[in-house]
């Protein structure tokens, strides 16, 4: 056995001072760290602070407590925007998920020209929401768009004027947004389907499961993580939606199709209501965090337990 004699003075001195190799990783990361601390978290706090002040055209630092939030939730236009977000968000997410899953399964049946079809389904994701909005504005326009097309084709009583109908205009947003994002959900699920262990499917077939049953009982349940990822991404797109509204409806008719992002922009920059604008931004942040924090938490924890 070793003898553990006490080593008096055998400890060599750690060189004190600056070792470039040790510090280089930290130095290199520093710019991004500054960016994150200032431009993400700093600004977030700044906006939070402004939401508790009576700032109007210029930031002021006279604190008024929760007054701006009270005004916000008494503001009819904000409540319309929130309601719209509820309708738009839930329909957009549900339809995208449904379409995405179905198309992914359809495309998974050894389809000829799968590549071409996939490319067609996914290209809207490469386009700006502004372009999407412009295109659909033309398509949904009752005087020149789909309504006219159908009437000219002989359906004289065909009516499709959602774009100018305050009660229906939010569904126009849903149509355009689904058109843009559902192909992406399809791609996510298709990648997930291709990642399913082939032996699992063979085993299910040997157990006598039909193709339908195999999907319902074996394959789709194993895609739960993809499902959650897609859900989070779609929710995130919905809450941040701004460009699409600007281009497709500009919030109209009136403010019937406003979403919170448009409300925030209008109140902060056009209406000189910085305090209330900031409060609305904070509510949006709250919505996103409510979805994101549990998700990131489970993701990071999962990653740790893998190691």
């Amino acid at each position: 056995m070793n003898t553990n004699t006490p080593h008096s003075g055998s400890k060599s001195a750690r060189p004190s001072g600056f070792s470039l190799t040790d510090w280089m990783p930290k130095i290199v990361l520093a710019p991004t760290m500054v960016i994150a601390i200032v431009c993400i978290y700093g600004y977030m706090i700044w906006t939070a602070v402004l939401s508790f002040t009576n700032s109007r055209m210029l930031p002021s630092y006279k604190f008024v407590g929760w007054e701006q939030y009270e005004r916000l939730f008494n503001n009819d236009r904000w409540m319309v925007a929130l309601t719209n977000l509820g309708i738009f968000g839930s329909l957009f997410i549900l339809i995208c998920l449904f379409l995405g899953v179905m198309l992914a399964i359809f495309l998974d049946q050894k389809i000829r020209a799968e590549g071409v079809i996939r490319t067609i389904y996914l290209y809207p994701m490469a386009i700006s929401f502004i372009v999407t909005g412009t295109a659909w504005k033309w398509l949904l326009n009752p005087t020149n768009g789909i309504q006219k097309l159908m009437i000219d084709m002989g359906f004289v009583n065909f009516k499709f004027d959602w774009l100018i109908n305050p009660h229906m205009v939010v569904y126009c947003l849903v149509i355009a947004a689904v058109w843009q994002a559902s192909g992406f959900v399809m791609a996510l699920f298709l990648a997930g389907l291709r990642g399913v262990d082939g032996d699992l499917i063979k085993a299910a077939h040997l157990d006598g499961a039909s193709t339908f049953t195999t999907y319902r009982r074996i394959i789709l349940p194993s895609l739960k993580p993809v499902f959650f990822s897609a859900l989070v991404i779609l929710a995130h797109i919905a809450i941040k939606s701004f460009d699409l509204v600007q281009a497709l409806t500009n919030g109209g008719p009136g403010y019937a199709s406003d979403l919170p992002a448009n409300f925030m922009y209008t109140y902060t920059f056009s209406r000189s209501q910085i305090g209330m604008g900031s409060a609305s931004a904070m509510v949006m942040l709250g919505c996103i965090l409510a979805i994101l924090v549990p998700y990131l938490y489970s993701e990071l924890r999962g990653e740790r337990s893998e190691k």
Binding site: M1, N2, T3, N4, H7, S10, K11, S12, A13, R14, P15, S19, T21
Partner: protein, 369 residues
């Protein structure tokens, strides 16, 4: 070539102590193997020697020079990794010469060195290939070539063979041994494979829980394990541990054995057991010490033959392992394949205790030292 001294090295992450004061001294040209189960701290020790991890306390000396806080590149060390860690974008030749290039060795000298190493390892025909185009064994050779090219003072091998298949592993083992004999380099080699440790090492350091359990030549460690852990870890199949009561016969302590009949085994060093009469200890007996009766051993001092019941037989070709149960412990015996043994039979086996060791049943401490 240089000697290496590891002087009371400790390493902890927060409150967890990974290394609890390691002392090892290696002569120049010596082949030392660090062996132990995963999590024993052997890889951490290796990284500390290389300078890839800081130690919390203690010193590391290479060629009598304190390098505890020297950066890895200035320690003049080369390392062969388990994953080989070949640079994927470089050819074999570039991989081998990268270290020389970093040390600003002129191109002509580098080329000479590449040729020398390539010939030594028989990889001359692979020099222009990328690592992805090589087989596992070839990658392993390149990884060694990269280490050899710099002619460092000290070589570190971190489980270099564990990614190879069994046959290749044996081949490369021999190759490494030959290279060591030829070049006389100082090597520290980490493995969890105790056969590799036995076959390659000049000396072995068996580690567990951040401590060196025993440091010695392979034979010393095999014959004279310092404690129960070392005894159980080194050797395959593992040493048998038979819980056995010490009984006194004619004033001499003996080890009681309950097989088909009750008998007692003599012990080469009976005086050390005097204090334990009446207690139960663990008798350590390697499988090759329990065999079919061998006429030439008959009548020797520490040999007893008794009947045991066969539970399972495992033919291995050269030998057949016979599993039996003695004193309620499962026991491995090594017998000649020609010796008839069927499960359920009671057969005579010969117990040779001339190399037996005994341990305290609770602490695992060796008792007969």
């Amino acid at each position: 070539m240089a000697n290496l001294t590891i002087d009371n090295v400790k390493k902890s992450y927060g409150k967890t102590e990974i290394l609890k004061g390691i002392n090892i001294a290696i002569e120049a040209g010596e082949f030392l193997i660090l062996v132990g189960p995963s999590g024993c701290g052997k890889s951490t020790l290796m990284n500390s020697i290389a300078g890839l991890e800081d130690v919390t306390e203690g010193r590391i000396l290479i060629a009598d020079k304190d390098v505890t806080y020297t950066s890895p590149k200035d320690r003049d060390i080369a390392m062969v990794f388990q994953s080989y860690a070949l640079y994927p974008n470089m050819t074999v030749a570039q991989n081998i010469s990268f270290g020389l290039e970093m040390r600003k060795v002129p191109k002509e000298e580098r080329d000479v060195e590449i040729q020398r190493v390539a010939e030594l390892l028989q990889i001359s025909h692979l020099l222009d290939r990328k690592p992805a185009q090589l087989s596992g064994g070839q990658r392993q050779r390149v990884a060694m070539g990269r280490a050899l090219a710099r002619r460092p003072q000290l070589y570190l091998f971190d489980e270099p063979l564990s990614n190879l298949d069994a046959k290749l592993r044996v081949e490369m083992r021999t190759e490494i041994k030959k290279l060591h004999k030829k070049l006389g380099t100082t090597i520290v080699y980490v493995t969890h494979d105790q056969i590799e440790a036995m076959t390659l090492a000049d000396r072995i350091a068996v580690m567990k829980d951040g401590e060196v359990q025993q440091l010695g030549t392979p034979q010393e460690i095999y014959d004279n394990p310092a404690n129960l852990f070392v005894a159980g870890f080194m050797g395959s199949p593992a040493m048998n541990f038979i819980p056995s009561k010490i009984v006194e016969q004619n004033g001499v302590p003996m080890l009681e054995l309950n097989a088909s009949e009750t008998t007692a085994l003599p012990f080469p060093n009976p005086d050390s057991l005097k204090a334990y009469v009446g207690e139960t200890v663990l008798l350590g007996l390697r499988p090759e010490m329990i065999t079919e009766p061998q006429p030439h051993k008959e009548g020797q001092a520490f040999v007893v033959t008794t009947g045991v019941e066969v539970e399972v037989t495992e033919p291995m070709g050269a030998d057949t392992m016979i599993l039996t149960r003695i004193n309620d412990a499962e026991i491995n015996c090594r017998s000649n394949p020609a010796y008839p043994a069927k499960p359920g039979d009671v057969i005579n086996m010969m117990f040779d205790t001339s190399k037996a060791v005994v341990f305290d049943a609770k602490s695992g401490r060796r008792l007969d030292v």
